[in-house]
């Protein structure tokens, strides 16, 4: 790339300070190293957050832009959550540095594909936008697609990329639709008019793409009448709750586990079938650590008769990332070359160590990631990975579970 696109180095510090709200807290860095210690890939990052700040202060930031190790950051928010100076490291420093790498053309090829797909098709998987609602086929009562239904609904379900297209995650979407129907909720989806929420693209440094996708979604929301938004995707939840409002797209939003926990009195009598399983719950980064939703998913699991809920070594705000965030979903090959281990492997090892039969999740990135990991982690061959929505459907369905 030509060098004119790069900032003069003295401006980097300012750029990082103003990257996000409260970005100027960067000045308060104590160089305690907590961020680098808690980073799940801190040992291979070359410039983990604390060293990154040191490089900024030493005016040697251009050196950082010549390495690619920063793409190991999965935006899991652990550094931000534990920083004693409360510096917005993930959304500010890390995402902004990735943006510089991106503008300088220093981007792993597999990430470029996901970004190009998001730009062209509105989903990172490169699937046809017209097929976004194909997963609803055969569900009764029929799932309403807003453009066709032409009537107001109480809740608009923001489905997200993986829940719409990934064959494994589609079954989770079908399970959640079943629950909404059982509860008699008036709901609809945008189908082909929905675009990727863009949150992971934002955290991978593609702010412009994020804004473009948010704009598209904002336009689609504006066409229809609904009371609030629910989503099965913690990344979409985070974008809708914390990022879209600053772009003028403001709606009340709930993650589905919050939505169902609010309706537990109605749901509980339906959970008649025993699910005899020892279950551990994996706190998704953008549900738990970032947005403080720890208890609702657990309350849903505990409402299921016969189910024994236990914890893995890392839980609640100290949960270990599945490796899919901040672009990690699209950097599996790159990360494997660097460390020869996947974060999902480490997490599945923890589930095995906790003697769990089922690993429960509430994020569309996780089912396929953990199922893949369970194929190779010793002792994990019997581990079931299920979304909470799927376990709930098992507990209500006397016919032996939703297919």
């Amino acid at each position: 790339m030509n060098s004119t696109s790069m900032m003069p180095k003295q401006e980097y510090y300012d750029a990082m300070l103003h990257a996000v709200q409260k970005g100027e807290r960067l000045r308060l860095c104590l160089e305690c190293g907590t961020c680098s210690g808690i980073c799940p890939f801190g040992h291979v990052m070359v410039y983990p957050p604390s060293r990154l700040i040191a490089m900024l202060r030493a005016d040697r930031f251009e050196k950082v832009l010549k390495t690619d190790a920063l793409w190991m950051c999965v935006s899991c928010y652990a550094c931000t959550a534990f920083c004693p100076s409360q510096i917005p490291l993930t959304a500010g420093l890390m995402a902004r540095t990735k943006e510089e790498l991106l503008l300088a053309g220093n981007v792993p090829a597999e990430l470029q594909d996901a970004l190009a797909n998001s730009q062209r098709y509105g989903n990172a998987l490169g699937e046809s936008p017209r097929k976004r609602a194909d997963w609803i086929g055969g569900i009764t009562p029929e799932v309403k697609v807003m453009a066709k239904a032409k009537e107001p609904v109480d809740v608009l379900w923001f489905v997200g990329d993986y829940a719409s297209y990934h064959p494994r995650v589609r079954s989770t979407s079908r399970a959640f639709a079943t629950i909404l129907n059982l509860l008699g909720v008036s709901f609809g989806i945008l189908g082909p008019e929905e675009s990727s929420d863009g949150d992971s693209q934002r955290l991978a440094g593609e702010r412009g793409l994020f804004e473009m996708l948010a704009e598209k979604n904002g336009k689609a929301f504006g066409k229809y009448e609904f009371g609030s938004i629910i989503t099965t995707d913690p990344h979409a939840y985070n974008a809708l709750k914390n990022e879209y409002p600053s772009l003028g797209v403001t709606y009340p939003v709930q993650h589905y586990t919050e939505f169902l926990a609010d309706r537990l009195d109605q749901l509980r009598p339906m959970l008649k079938r025993e699910v005899k399983a020892k279950v551990v719950y994996h706190d998704a980064c953008y549900l738990g650590r970032v947005n403080g939703i720890f208890e609702q998913p657990r309350a849903l699991l505990q409402a299921i008769p016969g189910l024994e809920l236990t914890e893995m070594a890392h839980n609640h705000s100290n949960s270990l990332c599945c490796g899919g965030g901040g672009g990690g979903m699209w950097l599996d090959g790159f990360q494997w070359e660097k460390v020869h281990v996947r974060l999902s492997d480490l997490r599945v090892q923890e589930a095995v160590a906790a003697n769990a039969g089922t690993l429960a999740v509430a994020c569309p990135y996780e089912t396929p990631r953990f199922e893949d990991a369970a194929k190779t982690v010793p002792g994990a061959s019997g581990l079931c990975v299920k979304d909470i929505a799927e376990i709930l459907v098992e507990a209500v369905d006397s016919e032996g579970g939703q297919k």
């Binding site: 696109s5 991106l102 090829a109 098709y121 793409l209 804004e211």
Partner: protein
């Protein structure tokens, strides 16, 4: 060095294709268009040449829906001039007519190298680059996957089947059919594309397509049809061998 890159849109195969009521062409009302993959590589190779050997890159493209985005993206990557051929759609025009439309503009631009994707999945009457070279009486090398300039000569890598690579030299001006750029087409951030939209404008040239009588006429367009299913032969090996010989004789292969 003056480089012209020819880029056209083709139907995006991510979408289901359908055939229109005439039964002889694609239903373009439902087709979503995407830049021809080989042309995207030609753009990348053009930008790489500019970065390594200096020069000016001009992108030429027929006017189809979505072409502006492709042009601005090319500008964000480093292209200097964007030229849209008004009055001509790559979806409705044969390669011969497209090459003729390009010819006048290329003559005017006087590029040292014209880069075109070596082919497109909807080419029915040859590739645009080779036809253009014929019309302008310029040398043409196809399946090029690397270019370097030395002493006014272009050294080319050309791919042959079975893994054979040839190194050729050509004296510009010449037309090159690009098989692959030396690196995958780069991703360019949305913010850079938006910047390009503000800082560069698309020039327009009106051209009238002139169809060639030599262009093939499409009688029928259809999706692949399942062929006749296999015949399963049952019985002992000797029996089966006997049946096979009988069938072979019937269809005249022995």
């Amino acid at each position: 060095m003056n480089i012209a890159v020819l880029a056209k849109l083709v139907p995006d195969l991510v979408e289901e294709l359908s055939i229109d009521a005439s039964g002889a062409k694609l239903d373009t009302s439902f087709a979503r268009l995407i830049v021809n993959e080989f042309d995207d590589h030609a753009i990348e190779e053009g930008i790489l040449l500019k970065e390594r050997f200096d020069g000016q890159v001009t992108i030429l493209a027929p006017d189809d829906e979505g072409i502006d985005d492709v042009l601005f993206t090319a500008a964000a990557k480093g292209a200097d001039r964007l030229l849209k051929l008004k009055g001509i759609s790559a979806m409705e025009t044969s390669s011969h007519a497209l090459a003729r439309a390009y010819a006048d503009v290329v003559l005017e631009l006087k590029p040292d190298l014209v880069l075109a994707g070596v082919q497109a999945h909807n080419d029915l009457d040859g590739s645009v680059g080779s036809l253009l070279a014929g019309m302008l009486n310029l040398p043409y090398v196809g399946y090029v996957s690397g270019i370097s300039m030395q002493d006014g000569q272009a050294a080319l890598r050309k791919e042959y089947p079975a893994g054979l690579i040839a190194e050729l030299q050509v004296t510009p001006p010449a037309v090159l059919g690009i098989q692959a750029a030396e690196q995958p087409p780069r991703y360019v951030a949305v913010s850079k594309v938006r910047q390009a939209m503000k800082s560069i404008s698309i020039e327009e040239r009106t051209v009238a397509p002139t169809e060639s009588p030599a262009v093939p006429h499409i009688g029928r367009m259809f999706k692949p049809e399942a062929a006749q299913h296999a015949i399963m032969l049952a019985g002992a090996p000797d029996e089966i061998a006997g049946k096979l010989v009988k069938i072979f004789k019937e269809i005249g292969v022995i």
